[in-house]
């Protein structure tokens, strides 16, 4: 790889991430493993605040409450390896602003979304140039928001939404080896956070919307308490992938509660074979979507409160 002349480069031969002795010991003790302490339908607390970045038309900062294992590790630090991580992201909205001279005429507002991880956001160091996952998140975020914004009110205008992820969620527990059930589960939590934060920032920028779009995640998780070999699956809301041994399938939605509409739906994994609890005859993906919508409803209450704060702050200003 040639050196990027527009950045300060590290050693030309590249560097290796630190290898801990705990990584080398195969199968770290199960007691160390992060465990979900919440009820299946209990959501993590969300910290959401608007207007922290005064140079932007609208902005918001979102943070998830650290999971029980992370909070314990923080209070009583023993190991340098964090058990899990909690989402932290900042979102800015610039606009509506005139489109660049070269752009073609557009009768509607042109929405541009950028999602970028900070290089230190994840367990593996991220590059400076957006990778495919980050681009993917940008596209999903745009889809989630496009339906909510009343675009025809600003012809020939652009709206830039930028999300900077300071700390992302893990895809799995750090000690477990990647296996077949693996996917980038952490990305789905990030997307849900992005959607919630972005709609708060859009309202903070006084862009007219149909409704507040909230993001929610639900997952079908192999039941670890049951000993049966076939394995029943459990529906969990707002899953932290580090806390689960194997996630079969997960779903993230962008949801507008007042209109009961879904603007964005992203399903990953195999939900067809999932057998839910007794008395629940929904198909796997129906249950997943319902769960994600429930999670989004929960996030919506936080979102509404943040928007109320934003309006109270702005009411005195011209």
């Amino acid at each position: 790889m040639t050196a990027d002349r527009r950045r300060v480069n590290g050693p030309p031969s590249g560097t290796r991430p630190a290898v801990f002795t705990a990584d080398l010991q195969s199968g770290a003790s199960a007691t160390d493993r992060a465990q979900r302490q919440r009820q299946p339908s209990e959501l993590r607390k969300i910290f959401l605040k608007t207007g922290l970045i005064p140079t932007a038309s609208g902005s918001s900062y979102l943070e998830f409450e650290p999971s029980a294992s992370l909070a314990a590790a923080r209070a009583n630090p023993k190991s340098l390896i964090p058990p899990s991580s909690a989402l932290k992201l900042a979102c800015t909205v610039h606009g509506p602003k005139p489109l660049p001279r070269s752009a073609a005429f557009s009768p509607n507002i042109v929405l541009t979304t950028h999602v970028k991880y900070a290089p230190f956001a994840a367990r593996q160091r991220k590059g400076h140039i957006r990778d495919s996952g980050e681009r993917d998140l940008g596209v999903h975020l745009e889809t989630a928001l496009r339906g909510a914004i009343i675009a025809e009110r600003w012809p020939k205008s652009g709206l830039d939404i930028t999300v900077t992820i300071l700390e992302a969620e893990d895809d799995r527990w750090w000690g477990s080896a990647p296996d077949s059930h693996d996917a980038s589960w952490g990305m789905m939590n990030v997307l849900a956070g992005c959607i919630t934060a972005a709609s708060a920032a859009i309202v903070d920028a006084h862009i007219d919307c149909l409704d507040l779009v909230a993001g929610g995640v639900a997952a079908l998780v192999a039941d670890e308490s049951g000993n049966s070999a076939t394995g029943t699956t459990k529906l969990m809301l707002d899953t932290d992938p580090a806390e689960h041994r194997s996630i079969l399938s997960a779903c993230v939605v962008g949801y507008m509660p007042a209109r009961d509409e879904i603007t964005e739906l992203w399903l990953k994994g195999d939900s067809s074979k999932a057998s839910l609890e007794e008395g629940d005859d929904r198909s796997g993906h129906d249950a997943l979507i319902d769960g994600a919508v429930d999670a989004a409803r929960g996030a919506h209450t936080v979102l509404a409160e943040a928007v109320r704060e934003s309006l109270l702050r702005n009411v005195g200003q011209p």
């Binding site: 002349r5 527009r6 950045r7 300060v8 480069n9 660049p100 001279r101």
Partner: protein, 334 residues
Amino acid sequence: MSEEAKLSHTLVVSDLSAKQRMWGPRSTKNRESFFHDAAGPYASPSSLRTTSKTDTRSPSRQSNSGQRKPTTWLSFPLEFSFSTTMVGPTASLSNLSRADGSASFKCPTTGYKILGSVNAPVELPGRRDALKPEEATVEVFIKPGNTTAGVGERYAEGIIRTMLQKLILGRERGFPRRGVVITLAIVGGGAIARGDSYLTLLPSLLHTSLLALLSGAVPMSMTYSAALMAVSKSNVIVSNPTLVEAKAASSLHVLAFSSKGHLLLNESQGRFDFDTWKTVQQRAHALCRGVELPEVDGDIAMEAQGDSGTAEGFVRETVEDHLCRDYAWKINTE
């Protein structure tokens, strides 16, 4: 980019081409604005200090024009040393025929050789949104000799641009909404390491840009001169240090003074205290302008060393020589 193309295509053009340029309507008209401050704005060419000079002067005298006499500085608390090499810098003007103005400059102590070109005023269609309606936009590009420009060059470009933006009279007729594009190519000298401060290179870059701007007849409120100073570990001030001396120094300073004595630029790094810096500043002022700054209590003012020993004198002589050659036809017939 067009100015790069110009630079690379015209490297072989010699000084002689300036003779042809002289007859161009543009060059004779605009050359009058040389040294806005030296001879008053828009002085006629003959009123520039060319009368005492004869046209027998050959370019070779440039090489010894930078000699300076060592002087004793009894009033200073610190010791001084002079670089052993007393060869002055060399420069030539209008090397490139297709650029509006150009100059090359070689610093003997650091070994850097810079080729600079200026195109002004020039349309910048690609930067339409960034252009300012009431004044010219100054753009500086630095091209290292052996690699593409990186973050360090961006930093040095920023320093030069900030300084020149204030000096170039960008509101003169024809300049607003247009660009003054300065391209500086490092054609000789050592490579610059990653994270290097660029201080050793900065005086050469500044002198090259000034000469190129003068050669391109870009109106400026003042001219300037710059000096590199080093303070060694044993608190000895070394003026015009070599690269080795600069690397071993405990602090490095680049200062630029306007032709009217203002401190235009100061870039200092290393470990030093303010009193050291003040001494460095006085020393640099003497190097650049020949006149010692009055002491803090305001009683000492050293006699001028004359133009020939100073950086400012060097710039002036280089331009005068060039003018002598350009106007040889006129001076001879007078």
